[in-house]
Subunit: 338 residues, 2 copies
């Protein structure tokens, strides 16, 4: 984390900005190991500091690797910054307008993605945690009794979370999706209290020591479903094979999208090919139409093409890859679940 | 929801603003019944419209009570607004800076709390849903076998969520807190894989048809713990009795804080006395030091004083009240759990 701060201080110096304000909980966690439960202002500067809420002080003092003070008021915080001679302040793009407006009269504000850029490249320890989260999630998936059709989508989703926690997860890394039949054409379907229909689409992940995993499998049962599944699997496999450092993220999206389009389903692939993950389930960069970020070693990104036929069904297949010379699929769960 | 939009249109007219942009998922849900799963821009104006992401179009068309278009780009959306002659745009205070910055060159921007103010006053149907969420949560709590000390905090938390889902909840309304022993001095403790110690503090809620419940109970076992519990219970009861329309929110905080201070624990009551809830678990107004919002009929607010003794233990007692002539406690779970 010291090197994280060091890198950001270098970025600040290059841009001639004196301090960087972070409030997003996972950003504060990334920098300091303390994850706020209420609110916090983390200010990276020569002497980094966190202003934490009173109710978080015990936790913050225990977990934080950088200095923590109790937040009193915007006025007091701004005063201290001004006393240090700080005139220019960088902010996260995600900072709420209301917070921005507290600072804009006293500082020269610029929105900077230093922290997002830093978080794009995972350390070996971060990758290990994502691998462990994936291992827990995939092992738990295999413990499911999917085809016992007395079960409802909601029950299967619940069992999966139960197994993940039993296998060592902190919790699910996002709301588990278990959807089936026509509902599977909703990419973010909510599990219903209805017995499983066909096909069955499960999109799930574990959180382990703060880090997320993300996978999707679709189990198909008819010829038409299998046909769509095969197209999605081809897009999935070829996109992963195409990944290498130096290419742009959008080029990987194009590989998957072109395959699906060639089969005539281009307009039914209604989302991006993938997103980074880490402390958050959605991070940058993503394999999407307009993301021209250069792929680098250390990135961890999902590959999840899908085809959604409204009123019929949907198929999505998702793995998470870590990038070194090429893309390494994390985990070893086959695409094809029997 | 038509009346919700109507009220906001009136606010806009009064302030001479032409349109109001909402992006927070629960705000969009409140206005349109469609809860985004990806991103959405809901614009309240003469003819309200939602720009939804492609992957949400099926869901949005199904759920939304107002017109939905597929989002293409900021440029296209801004163009359409300008064609309608819109020059002034109100935004939510929570709008991310990056989104604000897309609009600020083309519109006169003002941050407005119309939607928060509207959401402060719950309709009878909203209160019914909060009551039902509370009923589910409290019934589930009573199904717990708390004192079976083979159980860990994590297991109890998991059981509670399982019971809530079994009793009809969509899910938990926030991360369930089951904490015990010295850890209970952390207001937002995370359940650990350790057997229950004493005292035991449980802070939990159910989500029912989108609406949250929120309660806390603390089970104490020593004289010192009981002494602290009694003070917190007195603050809880007297704060609730003090609530009535016309008073300021901060006056209720003062009632609870003064009682705890009189016993010498003022500096160990490290958070506000309460917060509103509804579609979100934390809404405005709150019973806090600086919130001078006037209490009105239809508000639903928690009352949750606490005393936190670092290294020893913490006690918090929380109920949710709906306000009519006085405060009505929602649910009927006793404070004192035997």
């Amino acid at each position: 984390m010291k090197s994280h701060i060091g890198n950001i201080l270098n970025d600040l110096e290059k841009d001639n900005v004196q301090a960087y304000l972070l409030t997003q909980f996972t950003n504060v966690e990334y920098i300091s190991n303390y994850k706020p439960t209420s609110f916090a202002f983390c200010i990276i500067k020569e002497n980094p500091i966190i202003y934490a809420s009173g109710m978080d002080m015990e936790l913050a003092r225990k977990d934080s690797t950088i200095e923590v003070k109790e937040y009193e008021s915007y006025a007091a915080m701004i005063d201290e910054l001004k006393k240090e001679g700080i005139k220019s302040l960088a902010i996260e793009p995600s900072l709420p307008f209301s917070t921005y407006s507290k600072f804009r009269d006293d500082f020269e504000i610029s929105s900077k993605t230093y922290i997002d850029k830093q978080r794009m490249i995972k350390t070996p320890l971060e990758i290990e945690k994502i691998e462990k989260a994936t291992e827990i999630a995939q092992k738990s998936f295999l413990e499911l009794d999917i085809l016992n059709n007395r079960n409802t989508e909601k029950e299967i989703a619940f069992d999966l979370v139960r197994f993940m926690i039993g296998n060592g997860a902190d919790k699910e890394s996002f709301d588990t999706i278990v959807t089936s039949g026509a509902d599977s054409s909703l990419p973010h379907a909510i599990p219903q209290a209805k017995r499983l229909e066909e096909p069955i689409l499960i999109d799930w992940g574990a959180l382990f020591e703060g880090y997320c995993s993300d996978n999707t499998r679709t189990m198909v049962y008819s010829e038409h479903q299998q046909e769509i599944w095969d197209i999605v699997a081809e897009a999935h496999d070829k996109a992963i094979k195409a990944i290498k450092p130096g290419l742009k993220c959008c080029e990987i999206d194009k590989v998957a999208r072109d395959i699906i389009s060639d089969y005539g389903y281009g307009d039914r692939f209604i989302h991006s090919t993938g997103h980074s993950l880490g402390l958050d389930i959605h991070e940058t960069p993503g394999f999407s139409l307009r993301d021209d970020t250069i792929i680098e070693k250390g990135m961890v990104i999902t590959v999840e093409p899908g085809i959604y036929l409204e009123g019929e069904f949907g198929v999505r297949l998702e793995d998470t890859v870590s990038i070194s010379k090429r893309a390494n699929v994390i985990g070893n769960l086959p695409l094809n679940i029997d």
